[in-house]
């Protein structure tokens, strides 16, 4: 039992933090957020330069073969800086591609930062149910064709290719395709998403089906937990600082016990969330079978969703009116935590799965 970070993990998260400190302060992020694209290609290039776009992929395709535990520090740093770029989408889709014959053609471009991917799995009405798939795929003239619509696809507008689950005569299988249409929009936290449409789109069959998709989504959920811990840390730090500096009635408001105890409860919720992020990441790496993995991931997501709600709401409340403004980072942290709490399943969804295992 140990919670040490390896030298390699430390190096990675240090270089991510250096990069974010230089290129991703709050003002720079605000400019990106306000830009038409909503993300920065230059930042993506920097991610490629420091090896981030290779971190989660096998060495044979130019990557470093990192698992969830290796990515924890990165995701936490991304959470602290509220990174807008579609990193997680590319990681999850890329890992599914890595297990397929298409890996050789696709992954080197991803690793070099020239190609971004999306995981287009959600459908209207699915409510996080992974096996709710109405899109279909069939063979026609020696090629696979894909028909259907996918909703709320993170990073879809910037993705060159998407990984898409679809029904075939064999059940649910995974395909790689480019949508015929993308309706881009901004999610509640300002990140770029898209609803996508495939109209008899040419597709490559990746191999792997529901089990691979579930594993990828558990991997993603564990990383969402790690990212959320970073946002929580930033929101807690900002709130603590505010309690120490904001004066009313002639004293710092942090001298009031009513507020101190609420701050302590935020701090404890953050530590409990961090513990569960550690558990989820180590279990998705461990290969102890799906039940163990799903139990840990769902438990983590329940705790993280509850903590995200508590910390985001309390952070704004303790900042008073200022917490409501666009000017302060805490309102952006609020939005991100609200989104992360439901991404890949909210607490209710994971409570149901946890109890069924």
């Amino acid at each position: 039992m140990n919670f040490d970070t390896s030298e390699e993990q430390q190096l990675f998260s240090d270089s991510v933090r250096r990069t974010l400190a230089r290129d991703y302060d709050f003002e720079a992020r605000k400019r990106t957020l306000a830009s038409e694209a909503g993300w920065s290609e230059q930042v993506w290039e920097r991610f490629a330069e420091i090896g981030l776009t290779g971190l989660p992929f096998p060495a044979e395709h130019g990557g470093f073969g990192g698992g969830a535990v290796d990515l924890m520090g990165v995701m936490e740093a991304f959470g602290e800086a509220l990174v807008l770029e579609p990193y997680l989408a590319t990681v999850l889709a890329g890992r599914l591609v890595a297990q397929s014959p298409q890996a050789r053609a696709i992954l080197p471009a991803v690793v070099e930062g020239r190609l971004r991917l999306a995981l287009a799995h959600g459908e209207i009405g699915a409510r996080h149910r992974v096996d709710h798939v109405t899109a279909s795929a069939w063979m026609e003239g020696g090629h696979w064709r894909l028909e259907g619509e996918k909703a709320a696809v993170s990073g879809a507008p910037m993705a060159g290719r998407s990984v898409v689950p679809a029904q075939t005569s064999q059940g649910i299988e995974l395909f790689l395709a480019t949508p015929d249409a993308v309706r881009a929009y901004r999610a509640l936290d300002g990140t770029v998403c898209g609803d996508v449409v495939f109209r008899k789109a040419k597709a490559d069959r990746l191999g792997g089906g529901l089990a691979a998709l579930e594993e990828a989504l558990d991997f993603g959920t564990a990383l969402v937990c790690a990212e959320a811990v970073g946002v929580m840390k930033s929101a807690c730090e900002a709130t603590l600082e505010y309690l120490k500096t904001r004066k009313q009635f002639g004293v710092p408001i942090g001298s009031f016990q009513a507020l101190q105890h609420r701050m302590v409860d935020m701090f404890i919720a953050q530590e409990q969330a961090r513990s569960m992020a550690c558990l989820a990441c180590s279990k998705v790496d461990a290969n102890d079978g799906p039940r163990d993995r799903q139990r840990a991931v769902s438990a983590a997501k329940i705790r993280i969703a509850d903590a995200a709600r508590l910390i985001s709401q309390e952070a704004v409340q303790l900042h008073g009116g200022m917490g409501m403004t666009e000017e302060l980072k805490v309102s952006h942290s609020f939005r991100r935590l609200t989104v992360l709490a439901v991404q890949f399943g909210d607490a209710d969804h994971h409570l149901a799965r946890f109890a069924s295992l």
């Binding site: 039992m1 101190q260 701050m263 302590v264 558990l279």
Partner: protein, 376 residues
């Protein structure tokens, strides 16, 4: 990062588990499982079984009977005690008076008291709280006046757990009413409960049980040799004890056992989504607390330092979980039902409300984190 125990740690845990299975008397196990009252003899019987094995005071230095286990082993041991459903080891001698003597006591005091604590020959209780000094402990008024080779003690303690079983009491008393800071006039005294002038009066709690007492001191004569550390340094001693590493404030093993039992008892209720989700949320909180606890152990092992003030979160979360589990148990069993288990669970629910109040109320624990960890 590796959240699994090492093969050595697992082997140690299995050894402890097997031994407990073989040596925890069935009648005691049954009493604990059914939330029955534990007598003085019950508590001491289990204490002596562990003492005979050499496991009753793992944290002590080896020359006094400690096991030499590292922090992880000590934690595993305590968790296994809880998980096995063994009677509690009363902490007042083993985990409170003894560490104080080891740190501040004279050689004579150590030789006189430690072996008797180890072998369960003296039953200790703790005299801290007073009617006017609860959370604000430094407001204590029980007075000790030096007369030659004795102190004469007058005053009253309250919430004195198991004073009616005790042979000895360690007390915080005021030796200097005129000290500049009220913390400076306090001393740490050991008293034989048989000394004339000591009266114990029971306080029955809402579960009907007799666990705590009021203790009155009326011209009680205490030999000066029973003063621990210097006169006026009692607050230093008390603070040391607060920071003394306690592995088990979260009571993870105990709560795991309660959770497993609850799932068994509430099997038919698990179809009810509302009940099931409440249970799951407590289970998740317990999983998180276990990892948080391991993170504290890991930090202690790496730094060689006792845990910081933030360890208070283990007490806060641990007691919240214990209470939530008991509440669900009562709900599952129905407190209006006629069976003995339902009645015992109901009494346990009443009794467990104390956990967020005792040993520094959870509000005081939050004050500690706010001040010492967050700098508020």
């Amino acid at each position: 990062m590796d959240l699994n125990y090492s093969p050595d740690e697992l082997a140690f845990r299995d050894e402890v588990r097997a031994w407990l299975q073989a040596h925890l008397p069935e009648d005691l196990k049954e009493k604990v499982a059914t939330y029955a009252h534990l007598s003085r003899d019950d508590l001491l019987r289990w204490h002596k079984i562990l003492a005979a094995k050499g496991w009753v005071a793992p944290a002590w230095p080896q020359e006094w009977g400690g096991t030499g286990w590292n922090v992880v082993q000590r934690y595993l041991f305590e968790e296994e005690l809880g998980f096995a459903g063994s009677p509690p080891l009363v902490p007042f001698g083993l985990a409170m008076c003894a560490p104080v003597l080891l740190r501040f006591g004279t050689e004579a005091q150590k030789r006189r008291f430690l072996p008797r604590i180890y072998h369960g020959e003296d039953f200790w209780c703790q005299g801290y709280s007073e009617p006017g000094a609860g959370s604000d402990l430094a407001a204590l008024k029980t007075k000790a006046v030096r007369r030659g080779e004795h102190y004469v003690v007058n005053g009253q303690k309250i919430w004195t757990t198991l004073a009616h079983y005790a042979d000895w009491i360690f007390c915080l008393v005021r030796t200097d009413a005129g000290a500049a800071r009220r913390q400076e006039g306090i001393s740490f005294l050991l008293m034989d409960m048989k000394t004339p002038g000591i009266t114990v009066r029971p306080l029955y709690l809402m579960d009907g049980g007799h666990e705590v007492n009021e203790v009155f001191f009326d011209d009680v004569s205490v030999p000066v040799e029973n003063l621990v550390h210097e006169e006026g340094k009692g607050w230093t001693v008390a603070k040391y004890l607060l920071g003394y590493e306690r592995m088990n404030t979260g009571r993870i093993g105990e709560s795991k056992r309660q959770l497993a039992r609850l799932k068994e008892i509430a099997r038919s209720r698990l179809d009810d989504v509302r009940f099931r989700d409440r249970l799951s949320r407590v289970e998740v909180e317990l999983m998180a607390l276990e990892i948080t606890n391991l993170r504290f152990l890991d930090r202690m092992r790496r730094t060689g330092q006792p845990p910081g003030a933030d360890v208070s979160m283990l007490k806060i979360k641990g007691t919240e979980i214990q209470q939530a589990l008991t509440e669900l148990l009562v709900q599952a069993l129905d407190p209006l039902a006629s069976d003995a288990l339902a009645a015992a669970a109901g009494r346990r629910y009443l009794s467990m409300r104390k956990t967020t109040i005792y040993a520094g109320s959870n509000e005081i624990q939050r004050n500690i984190i706010a001040k010492a960890t967050l700098g508020l």
